[in-house]
């Protein structure tokens, strides 16, 4: 089952308050997304921890209903 981009953004923002989220539907099929998440909450955390925070916000959907999400995380805009 595909997920809507809006739902992904909402979940990430709920899980990581104040985060900026940009999302692209890569294949136009509602199933392959690329997301960039920018949050000061990532500061001082490893990449693995940053991605785990996003996966945590998605509450188990990653790897399930959400098949493919190419993730880029950063603490601030480059």
């Amino acid at each position: 089952m595909p997920m809507q981009a809006d739902d992904i953004i909402r979940l990430i923002k709920e899980g990581i308050p104040g985060a900026e989220v940009e999302i692209q539907d890569l294949a136009g099929d509602g199933d392959h997304y690329a997301a960039t998440v920018i949050s000061s909450a990532f500061a001082g955390k490893s990449k693995i921890q940053q991605h785990q925070m996003v996966y945590g916000a998605l509450g188990g959907r990653m790897g399930g209903v959400l098949h493919a999400l190419k993730l880029t995380t950063m603490a601030q805009r480059p």
């Binding site: 990449k47 693995i48 991605h51 785990q52 996966y55 188990g60 990653m62 790897g63 399930g64 493919a68 190419k70 993730l71 880029t72």
Partner: protein
């Protein structure tokens, strides 16, 4: 709560293989674009690695996600340490961090395939 039996096997594999990739398909025939991308990066660096096809082993497929607290496959382990999935590995490759990490951990990068 006792931990799943499969964790023992995972630890054993991680201990035996300096560079270990849990993946969909095999290094020669990856069955997912994300797994293929990591295989490609490792090949470009000339890193010898062991690939485990989780598609043929449902216990391992679920077990590794719990073990790593990471919801997706592929997953790369180097010298016992979880490095990341496809996005992190690719990003580290592009910035040169991955090569640096292999060197620091004493993994040979010679003999590119």
């Amino acid at each position: 709560m006792s931990e799943p039996e499969v964790f023992e096997r995972i630890r054993d594999e991680i201990g035996k293989n300096d560079v270990l990739l849990f993946m969909k398909g095999t290094p020669v025939f990856p069955q997912c674009g994300f797994s293929a991308a990591v295989v490609d990066v490792l090949s470009q660096l000339g890193v010898k690695f062991h690939g485990i096809n989780i598609l043929v082993d449902p216990d391992l497929r679920e077990g590794i996600k719990e073990f790593s607290q990471w919801p997706t496959i592929p997953q790369l382990y180097v010298k016992g340490e979880f490095v990341g999935g496809c996005d992190i590995v690719r990003e580290m490759f592009e910035t040169g961090e991955l090569e640096q990490m292999f060197k620091e951990k004493g993994v040979s990068l010679a003999d590119a395939a």
